[in-house]
Symmetry: C2
Subunit: 454 residues, 2 copies
């Protein structure tokens, strides 16, 4: 079977719908539960409220929990509002704690409090504990449904324990080993468990070099580790090495997607490129704040050119090359910015050293500047028949490209130094800064050599 496309989902749905309409609970359950929760969620979110209400009575809280885990959390609020609050609380209790916490973070504070009050104490406490962790840290994405064994157990005992825990655990493919103080001392994969003899001891088989992350670690760093080490899960510990939770690879993929889309959005100067825009107002709301800031920065550039009005009065042809020069400054700056932002994100820049990088960028600016400068000098010369004008534009491009390339890499490095996410220095911002620099260079030189141009 291929995964369901929209049409197949429609077909599956019409058979399920028949079952619902005719109150054939068993048939509905058989058909619906056969689907992967991801497809269940796609069908579910397309339904009318009265059909959804019917489904809440046909499915158990655990089955509804599976569906909810696959709904976009930003659009999940109405579903939990329409459910009976007691049912909703049970649904939360049945979810993986990390997913429950992610969803609760999207709901209103007092609604969250009321769910937690109805929920049984143990489940509520686990969720409360996780709600405390700061966003985008290891603690905020970990789950507490992991399997632990003692080093003194035999493989046979461990397997029995594992089989009991399997239905509730987020993953059973790694079992973590703790000592009497609940400190993490080892890990054993299910692969190693099943190829070991049943009477061996866990202590003899476990891997003592267990890689873990601290609960406050940045989620991007956690994702990088999981990717580098090809882990399926990673344990999260506090400063005393107590095992607090685990982060599984499916959550890591969501983090990677989130971080990539975040960087991409910022390069394009738009908040949150990925959540679908329902209408023009929602869409304008995300873009307008950036545009207005850029509008004022652009006015600054305009006022700067205004200061050279007397030069423009004498040599109006200068205006023709403004967008070319400003544009090239923006382009090279964006390139340098992208390299620096990615270099910081992958840790490559810390390895190479910042000074080395600045020298390299200066060199890159020089090479690209000389190349583009020479080309444009001849283009302008042949087009306008004025060698001095060509040389002026060419020299401006040369100097602009060097300075703009340096600016493009220096700004994110400085922001990184002051612990500001360098991706915030979005493309358009660097472009506007470089607009200003390039215009100062161009008109500065034009004013100085004006007598050659007339």
């Amino acid at each position: 079977m291929e995964h369901l496309d929209d049409q197949e989902r429609q077909e599956v749905w019409s058979t399920i719908e028949d079952a619902l309409l005719n109150d054939h609970i068993d048939q509905f359950r058989a058909e619906f539960l056969e689907l992967h929760p991801y497809d269940q969620a796609r069908i579910f979110e397309g339904l009318d409220v009265d059909v959804r209400m019917q489904i809440y009575t046909y499915l158990s809280p655990e089955e509804v929990a599976d569906v909810m885990e696959h709904i976009d959390y930003e659009e999940i609020e109405p579903f939990f509002t329409e459910m009976d609050p007691r049912f909703a609380a049970q649904v939360f209790a049945e979810m993986s704690t990390d997913d429950a916490v992610d969803i609760l973070n999207e709901l209103e504070k007092d609604k969250v409090a009321s769910f937690l009050t109805i929920m049984d104490d143990e489940a509520a406490q686990e969720i409360k504990d996780l709600l405390h962790y700061e966003e985008k840290t290891a603690g905020s994405i970990m789950t507490t449904e992991f399997v632990v064994v003692k080093a003194t157990m035999s493989i046979r005992q461990a397997m029995v324990h594992l089989r009991t825990e399997a239905p509730d655990a987020e993953t059973i493919y790694y079992t973590y080993v703790i000592d009497e103080d609940k400190k993490l001392v080892g890990v054993i994969s299910l692969r190693d468990l099943i190829i070991s003899e049943e009477d061996w001891m866990i202590a003899d088989v476990m891997n003592e070099r267990v890689v873990s992350v601290s609960v406050g670690e940045d989620q991007e760093e956690v994702a990088r580790m999981v990717r580098d080490y090809d882990f399926l899960a990673l344990p999260v510990v506090d400063f005393q090495d107590h095992l607090l939770g685990i982060i599984t690879v499916d959550d890591i993929m969501d983090v990677m997607e989130e971080e990539a889309s975040d960087d991409y959005s910022k390069l394009a100067a738009i908040s949150d490129v990925d959540s679908p825009d329902e209408n023009a107002f929602a869409s304008a709301k995300k873009r307008l704040p950036w545009l207005v800031i850029l509008l004022f920065l652009g006015s600054l550039t305009a006022s700067l050119i205004g200061r050279f009005e007397s030069t423009l009065d004498v040599v109006p042809i200068l205006a023709v090359f403004i967008p070319l020069i400003a544009g090239m400054a923006g382009n090279t700056g964006t390139q340098a910015l992208a390299v620096a932002v990615r270099g910081i994100a992958t840790g490559e820049i810390d390895k190479q050293g910042k000074t080395k990088m600045m020298f390299r960028e200066a060199g890159t600016g020089l090479i690209t500047g000389v190349s583009c400068g020479v080309i444009i000098t001849f283009v302008v010369y042949f087009w306008q028949g004025n060698f001095f004008l060509g040389a002026l534009v060419g020299l401006s491009i040369l100097m602009t490209l060097i300075v703009a390339t340096l600016a493009g890499s220096l700004v994110p490095l400085i922001m990184h130094r002051f612990n500001i996410d360098p991706a915030v220095a979005s493309g358009p911002f660097i472009t506007t800064i470089n607009d200003i620099i390039s215009i100062l260079i161009y008109f500065g030189m034009a004013t100085a050599f004006m007598n050659l141009l007339i």
Copy 2:
């Protein structure tokens, strides 16, 4: 244990180095093999060639294969060149076939042929089969080390089979079920295997709704499925549903990283932002081609302004607002482009419908255009004391934002329609197109209403 940072790697290395210098093979092996292959690779790539040659004699081909799988494939060529060719061939034979193929794809064609000749026939054939698949398809990232069972086996038989296969399999957490024609008919997770009774039949426990991908499927689509369905591995089939290979989640993470960095690079108009630039020449080589193209496009913009030279002669103040208007067109175009490219990548746009999207973008352009237009009209009026100039700039911004927003989303949609990767329409290209549009609008209006401006 935390993962190793550079300093810890240095410390670990110095103890390992002592063992090497004193020819203590056993001590070297004990210390080195204790490390995760990722860390082994980080240490290995920092060594001098004579130390590496020593290591090839101390480690088995299988152990070297583990190290090689964690080296950046673009920098791996010298290592395989310096090894004894017979040893290198054995290393390739011991690797996961997908990694071997990825690395061989980086080497010269005749070198690859010579390795394949030395290798034993079975391993060579498996690799040759995979080398045929087109880049960035499911076939090119799958591996052939998977575990299969027959539906007629008992759980006990399957577990015995699994234990035998475990050392070589890429993952044992999913076992695939095939019929007599080797067609994929089901899947069973190790979780389900270990909680089942030993005398049950595979046919009764397996999941018949096994999700698979076709061998020619785009790797980005494969990654999306693994992420949506939270799979640890996905089977790859041909058109007759024969099981050809599996794709594991660790490879999916690499695909996600590659695709994200690809989109990001293109938005910044730079080829391959992620491989570290060693020097200014390497760096300039990646950026210069784009810059030269953009230089010529910029000259086009310049020649366009040149056509309005007579207007500029009469009203030179017009030049002041060129970068502002062109800049705003570029900014809004980049925003619209980013939304469209991501929307196409996530499949969101196909779901919403393209017409709906174009109407939404037109609406967004109208809202942002009116807002920015009104603001700038007053800014220019108060600054220059000329209401008509303000109105001209404001009206140009309004029209520019509508057209540029539409262009930013229309261009990637058209490219998508013609099966061109829309991400190729990089930020700077859209910016240059929008520069031209905005200048036509601005100077067109200025020329038409010139008598109001003097």
